[in-house]
């Protein structure tokens, strides 16, 4: 079993409509890197020109906000769910 990366509807245009992509990874950054290897166009949606994760991209690991864990270095293991979310602009 691999890490499941969930993709929000708006970004499925670059994942061939896939809502869930399975990758082998040991931390969040690696999960996103593997996703990018398969779907290179997703990079521009997730990261800014300096390679920093966009502030509008919120990532939950098994339902917990990555920012309250170890950010992109948060460890993940087989069976974990990395959920990519778009921040709601009105709350933000």
């Amino acid at each position: 079993m691999s890490v499941q990366v969930k993709v929000p509807p708006l970004l499925r245009q670059v994942t061939g409509r896939l809502a869930v992509v399975e990758v082998d990874a040991t931390h969040v950054a690696e999960s996103l890197g593997k996703l990018e290897e398969r779907f290179p166009r997703i990079k521009g949606h997730l990261f800014d020109e300096k390679g920093k994760l966009k502030s509008s991209i919120i990532i939950n690991i098994n339902g917990k906000d990555m920012r309250s864990l170890s950010g992109l270095q948060t460890p993940v293991k087989s069976g974990d769910v990395v959920n990519i979310l778009l921040a709601h602009p009105v709350i933000s």
Binding site: P9, H45, I58, A87
Partner: protein
């Protein structure tokens, strides 16, 4: 009248809760709902710090001696919400109830809240999420159907089906949201398995609600067909009264606009302009389908009393049909 586990657990007169709404659910409005026998809610995401929330709680306490609650947002937001500190503060201030809502589980907050005696209500838009909330320790769960304004969830299941489907598998008290603004909706919700209702749109037209008078007038002349579901592309569909900003978002989503393009229109500032400042075309104007059932403004007390009076009359009318066992 209409005593349920919800009224018992929350210590309120009527099983009617004003669901937490961004930029709307503040002290004066929440206190008005609690004073009228329902449960008013303050939205913590309106504040940047726990100290600001503390001041709002204190203000609410100065306006009512009845129970009220605080909403904790679990929606993804650019600004990391200090929810841990919000929870600590509301426990410290002796708040009666918490309404959690959003896209992630509230489980991490429940142990502390329950130990402090705070009643935990989780608001969601799917039966499976209600089951999860029950398993995680929620005292009550609210399910909002497709008629809802604001966040709808992704399943598009209306209240008429969502409520009984949820009731089949959830044992804790169930609250219904989405499409309920009068006694008919209230009594229907009870018949479908709820023990209380959560209302947003109906309260937005009340005199104590901080929505702009022009927005209230717009609500009164709107029909149930004057709304649109937007923001589905970002995975957070919301329903709004149709205006120029909403039509712009519809067009953008149809052509596959990027998040950044959408976020330039769907902003908190534009939302506030539309609903609080009366610039009706400026931004999103979140509202439920039940806007078509609102024909006049009233005070919060008149609104709640009206629901209860109408529901009582309907209950008697139904009993008179002869279907009630002796």
């Amino acid at each position: 009248m209409f005593k349920t586990r919800v009224t018992e657990m929350l210590g309120i007169e009527y099983p009617i809760i004003a669901g937490g709404m961004a930029h709307i659910s503040r002290a004066e409005f929440a206190a008005a709902v609690s004073n009228a026998g329902g449960l008013g809610i303050i939205t913590s995401a309106n504040f940047d710090s726990a100290e600001e929330l503390r001041q709002e709680i204190k203000k609410t306490k100065s306006l009512t001696n009845k129970p009220f609650g605080v909403n904790i947002s679990l929606f993804p937001s650019v600004r990391p919400l200090p929810n841990d500190k919000f929870v600590e503060t509301l426990i410290d201030e002796g708040v009666a109830a918490v309404e959690t809502s959003g896209t992630r589980s509230p489980a991490e907050y429940f142990p502390r809240l329950k130990e402090a005696g705070v009643k935990c209500i989780h608001k969601c838009a799917a039966a499976r999420h209600a089951r999860r909330a029950e398993k995680d320790g929620a005292d009550m769960v609210t399910v909002v159907g497709f008629e809802n304004g604001g966040a709808l969830g992704m399943d598009d299941v209306p209240t008429m089906v969502l409520l009984p489907v949820t009731r089949e598998t959830v044992k804790i008290p169930l609250l219904a949201g989405g499409g309920i603004v009068n006694g008919r909706g209230f009594i229907a919700a009870l018949a479908l398995g709820a023990e209380g209702v959560v209302i947003g749109t109906g309260f937005m037209a009340t005199k104590e609600c901080p929505t702009h008078p022009m927005f209230k007038e717009w609500m009164l002349r709107s029909k149930e067909t004057d709304l649109a579901v937007i923001e589905r592309s970002i995975g957070l569909p919301h329903r709004s009264l149709r205006n120029r900003a909403v039509e712009q978002v519809e067009e953008m989503e149809a052509r596959g606009a990027t998040f950044e393009e959408l976020a330039a229109v769907v902003t908190g500032e534009n939302y506030k302009k539309a609903i609080l400042d009366g610039e009706l075309d400026a931004g999103m104007a979140y509202c439920g389908l039940a806007v078509g059932l609102i024909h006049h403004t009233s005070t919060v007390k008149e609104f709640i009393d009206g629901i209860i009076a109408e529901a009582s009359a309907i209950a008697q009318q139904i009993a008179s049909l002869g279907g009630v066992a002796k």
